[in-house]
Amino acid sequence: MAKVVAVTGNEAVANALRQANPDVCAAYPITPQTDIMQRFSGFVADGLVNTELILVESEHSAMSACVGASAGGGRVITATSSQGLALMWEILFIAAGDRLPIVMPLVNRALSAPLNIHGDHSDGMGARDCGWIQLWSENAQEAYDNTLQAFRIAEHMDVRLPVMICLDGFIISHSIERLEYLDDAEATDFVGKYTPLYPLLDVDHPVSYGPLILPDLYMEYKRAQHEVMTKAGKVVLDVAADFAKVTGRNYGLFESYRLDDAEIALVILNSAAGTAKDTVDEFRGKGIRAGLLKPRLFRPFPYREVAEALKSAKAVCVLDRADSFGGFGPMYMEIASAMMLNGAKPLLINKIYGLGGRDFLPEHAELVLSELAEIAKSGAVRTFKEYIGVRE
């Protein structure tokens, strides 16, 4: 039986981690993630989990210890934000290259400089190419649900890759929302038991992790990594189908919101998607065929499926809460790539919003949708990339 509660995103995620009962957790504080590891430390102190807690001296060591622990042969977690993820960056690639199913909530926060502790997606987008599977979450419920599903995806024998679960710093991590928890037994049953694969601690069958591989074989290893990533999408859907059986809550590779016949569409991640959906409804009320696509699985990116979902749109705006300075926003580049695949060529514009925790308001979504309606009608684009909600 589901239990309905009012909790913060961090509390919800911490409880998902407790229900998964990891063997090892490496923890290091950073705002706004700290609360997750603080709560988890409490679960360890109260004996609610079997976890050995490693209270490391940096995020670099957190991910390094996770790599060692996961290679050892058990379930491993950590959590981080922003600068912490940036410090881990080197080892993120190693965790993926060694095919270690580490699960890590990432409470999205802006990167320095200037120093800012509030939510944006620069951290997660900066880790785009590190070989981790990324699940993004609109609200606390999705963050909780994604965390439980992450274990199943990461540890699946066709995958064996690390997964990060992204949720917006403060907006979701620290806001109290209505949430349905799975019963502990139900959650534990859903996550399942950890199956070790080539454990380092099996001293009777010694294995080596992290060899030197030169040009003769390196590329074959990387292709293998590419191939396994292309299979992960199917596992994500299979796990989602199982999750729906238990909870009735349905997850796909992304969420399509009133998109079927949409002429204008927004593509937007995480919490701001919730705000934008209300505005889409308003436009629909005015007889304008507006829709919204909210990506969930960002790596591997479901290009074909996204292209199919946006095929009826004449004008699309990708809203990015991160920037690739000198380029388009990171999500824009993905959507532009997707559009190439089915030959659909909507007019595709990019707005950068909400950096460093700047509020994304319904009026922002309204301005963008109005501009899209104009573009759809005239076929003329004023500017392809623009910052919105910014002081002049």
């Binding site: 490391v56 060591s61 210890a65 060692g68 058990g74 992290g210 030197l212």
Partner: protein
């Protein structure tokens, strides 16, 4: 210390868990250190290796010289990585999923230990993981082509502290890492030399028996970087001890004990002369460099002796 039970005859019967066929340079000191560690242990071992000569030369593609489980993560994080493995071991053992007694050993060079890996090492020691960290100290970044590290001795000619017309090699004395590790209050920190094999193996053995974090710093001559002969590794690691450049000692539960006192303290020239990296110090006009090196060695040796004397328990 039970040094008397260690005989070459007995050791020669032990299984080689670090095999031949690796690609370390001939005459390198580091594989001797690994071999001595393997001979010291009767326990199942799991080894973590920092990026460096030892790592890139011993596990390449499908081949490995290690007959024990082995993990290489990155350059600066062997201690953090092994602390993760050891934590998983404690977790699984607590849950009854592993019953064997396993020991954990990390190997890092001086670059990966004194410099880039110091934070990771310090953290692992402070957290009290049951592991032994061994630094094979060859006094520079040898794997990348002999760049100075904080373990490089004063005056040494390296590719980033070259002997020029104005600056004559490295201008700073080396960091005393063994002392820094002992200052963590860990149960065991020691210094060893492959030339004094009985002393080294005894220290490895002792460290593996002690619960908690242990650190042993072992001098490991590198004939490429030191510009010495390929058959000089043992000679030089002995000269390092006899000149008191590399004193053999241990700090157990906070008590410092010098484990080998040379009968006659040799002048540092005996250690420096066979090495091309110190050649300029013997040129006319550079006598002050030699004097500076000797003064540095004397100062550290005196300090160590003072500490050992002060900490010797009063005899009844």
């Amino acid at each position: 210390m039970a040094t008397t039970t260690l005989t070459l005859k007995e050791l020669s019967k032990k299984e080689d868990r670090f095999t031949h066929g690796h690609r370390m340079c001939s005459g390198c000191g580091a594989p001797i250190v690994v071999k001595q560690l393997m001979l010291a242990s009767d326990f199942p071992l799991v080894v973590a290796n920092a990026t460096g000569c030892l790592e890139v030369s011993t596990c390449i593609s499908e081949y490995t010289a290690w007959k024990v489980p082995w993990i290489h993560n990155a350059f600066e994080n062997a201690a953090a990585t092994l602390s993760g493995v050891e934590s998983m071991y404690r977790s699984l053992r607590k849950q009854g999923k592993i019953d064997k007694e396993i020991k954990f050993v990390a190997f890092g060079g001086d670059g990966g230990t004194y410099d880039i890996g110091l934070q990771s090492l310090s953290g692992a020691m402070e957290r009290g993981h049951d592991l032994l960290y061994i630094c094979y100290d060859n006094g520079a970044y040898m794997n990348t082509g002999i760049q100075r590290s904080s373990a490089t001795p004063i005056g040494a000619d390296t590719t980033t502290s070259p002997v020029g017309s104005v600056i004559k090699g490295k201008t700073q004395p080396r960091k005393n890492l063994t002392r820094i590790m002992a200052a963590h209050g860990i149960p065991y920190a020691a210094q060893a030399s492959p030339a004094h094999w009985r002393d080294a193996i005894s220290k490895f053995k002792k460290a593996l028996e002690i619960k908690g974090p242990k650190f042993i710093n072992v001098i490991a001559p590198c004939n490429r970087g030191w510009r010495s002969s390929t058959d000089d590794a043992i000679l030089l690691s002995r000269a390092a001890v006899d000149t008191c450049y590399w004193p053999l000692y241990e700090v157990e539960d906070g008590v410092t004990r010098i484990t080998y006192v040379p009968k006659e303290k040799k002048p540092v020239e005996e250690f420096l002369k066979p090495q091309g990296r110190f050649k300029h110090m013997f040129a006319p006009g550079n006598e002050h460099l030699l004097a500076q090196f000797q003064a540095e060695v004397d100062r550290e040796w005196d300090r160590l002796n003072r500490e050992a004397r002060e900490q010797t328990p009063e005899k009844a």
